[in-house]
Amino acid sequence: MGDEPELKGHLNLVVALPPEAKPLIRHFGLEFKSGDTFNVYANGGETIHLIISGVGKVSAAAAVSHLASLSRGNSATAWFNVGVAGHKTLSVSTLVAAHKITDAGSGRSWYPPMVLDLPCGTAAVRTVDKETHDYPDGCLVDMEATGFYATALRFTSHELIHCLKVVSDNSEQNDLDYGTVAKMIREHLDAVETVADQLLQLSIEKSDRQAPPSHLELFLQQWKFSVTRAHKLEKLLQRWTLLIPDSDPLDSAIPECQDGKEVLEFLTERLERIPVKAASL
């Protein structure tokens, strides 16, 4: 994933087809960014990226990997697959979130945790290798979800990966008209945004949690630390920020410490002396 970028919330959208992408690109104000292997779009602040993967789980997996490196995301980046899927009974244009994603080939399943306020119902999604009009009971059928989900999992946690599908065909209306796909997605842009907002919030929260303590860089510039000591330093500074937020650790340490070892001793000793008050826990 390269250097950890200084991002807060970050969302990567993955869609299979240009007609699925079009309304999303417009809605989120994205602009063309690159088109070497896949077409990628991003907003001005580069907090939202969109990639058009093409059809199939292999393409979806490749697109996720590509976007992960291009968008310089990190483990706090949220991933969101929006697309169309078939369903035996649900009417065309129904919006559904995936609560289980099963690979028809291997039988393996993934379970996106239901932690969001969803604007729609949920269902299991079955990812198949070839287009089919055979709709298993109660399941959505698509061609990308498992490739998308399994690959996104290499970069972030389950809670930050979700799939939203619009029913494009069913047992009565199974001649999918790609010309209508953009319209179907457009009808659900508010719902897509509701989910996107929540994913961005989770991304911000995770990003905050993983952020190194603010003084770490300055300490590393001021003194030399081995890898193990740098790790200890990070933990001590994290505690300092929580326990003595009004005091600058660098200002306190500079007059007292000659080297990294002394810094660690100094910080440890100062933290030991902080009284633990029940009211401030």
């Binding site: 399943s109 932690v115 972030t156 389950h158 929580l242 029940a278």
Partner: protein, 333 residues
């Protein structure tokens, strides 16, 4: 309260599954092959899940009743624990469950009868003269989700018929209705864990107030049930002598010492890797940022702090309860 229920194939038609599903008609139902598919995968965020945990209905296949960790006991010569559930309704910041499991979902094993068979087997393996303790609140709170699990309702009649088997229900809940509806018997102890009110308010999220828990404890004692008192974990803070003294005094003002089967103290200790996992989840938590340090693979308060707290609290308990009712409960000793 429960929005999502995962149902393992094996328990789809179990009567307890049907009962629970009927209680949550609006919950989303998701089928899974084995509960581990949902609960065990790496890369889950316990903290995010904890806001909206799902219920997983599952069958347990093995390891129903396990030997309790070294140092865990309340007087029986043999100590075992069993977990009808994994994870807890509450969210105590010092809870080891958040560092132990990948997921915050509640796993409920519906095959209670298999646990009962395993308890009988353990009893058969021990001598008739031996008192055997079975701890139930190790991986969950024994009472907090009673309205869903029906655990107490199912297990009280079972233990009543096995006087040699002592059941400990460990809890921070006030859900004692099922016990109050039942005629008390000797070999069941409902053990309440406490930290002082000012600590509880800050660190035991979602847990009923200390005063309500004391009230629940008193009700049980009055009804004739044996109760236990667990000061576990002991949490260090300035003036801990006073706050623990007030806590113990408040408890014994409400609960007659004769009703107390046992008291115990538990130090705050985490295996180092578990502590690191919990801090990664809650880097913004001041309790975890406190004066805990690694020693021999464990993260604890410094020895003198731990010893001082133990000594003070032991003396406080000693004012009400005789020495022979005092036990140490120190997993990972």
């Amino acid at each position: 309260m429960i929005e999502t229920i995962y149902i393992e194939e094996a328990v789809r038609s179990h009567p307890r599954t049907s009962e629970i599903l009927a209680r949550f008609p609006g919950a989303r139902r998701i089928r899974c092959h084995r509960y581990g598919e949902v609960f065990n995968p790496r890369g889950q965020d316990f903290r995010i899940q904890k806001r909206r945990p799902a219920l997983i209905l599952a069958e347990k296949f093995k390891n129903f009743v396990l030997p309790a960790p070294e140092g865990f006991g309340i007087g029986g010569s043999e100590n075992f624990y069993f977990s009808h559930m994994l994870n807890c309704l509450y969210d105590c910041r010092y809870c080891f469950l958040q560092g132990m499991y990948q997921s915050a979902h509640y796993v409920m094993f519906v095959n209670h009868e298999s646990f009962m068979d395993a308890i009988d087997k353990r009893l058969e393996e021990t001598k008739e003269s031996q008192a055997v303790t079975f701890f139930s609140g190790y991986d969950c709170d024994s009472l907090a989700l009673e309205s869903v699990t029906g655990f107490v309702k199912a297990f009280l009649p079972f233990f009543r018929e096995r006087p040699r088997a002592l059941l400990e229900l460990r809890t921070k809940s006030v859900r004692v209705q099922e016990l109050l509806k039942t005629e008390p018997f000797e070999n069941c102890v409902t053990a309440f864990s406490f930290t002082p009110a000012e600590i509880s308010e800050k660190t035991e999220h979602g847990v009923p107030p200390v005063a309500s828990r004391i009230e629940a404890m008193a009700k049980l004692a009055e009804a004739g049930w044996k109760v236990g008192l667990r000061l576990d974990p002991l949490i260090y803070h300035k003036g801990f002598e006073n706050s623990y003294s007030k806590l113990v005094r408040d408890i014994f003002n409400a609960v007659p010492p004769e009703a107390v089967h046992s008291t115990s103290l538990g130090p705050m200790r985490f295996p180092k890797a578990m502590y690191d996992r919990i801090v990664r989840l809650y880097p913004d938590d001041r309790l975890l940022a406190g004066p805990l340090s690694p020693s021999n693979g464990m993260v604890t308060y410094r020895r003198h702090v731990e010893e001082e707290m133990t000594e003070v609290c032991r003396a406080l308990l000693g004012e009400y309860v005789p020495e022979e009712k005092f036990f140490h409960c120190t997993p990972w000793a």
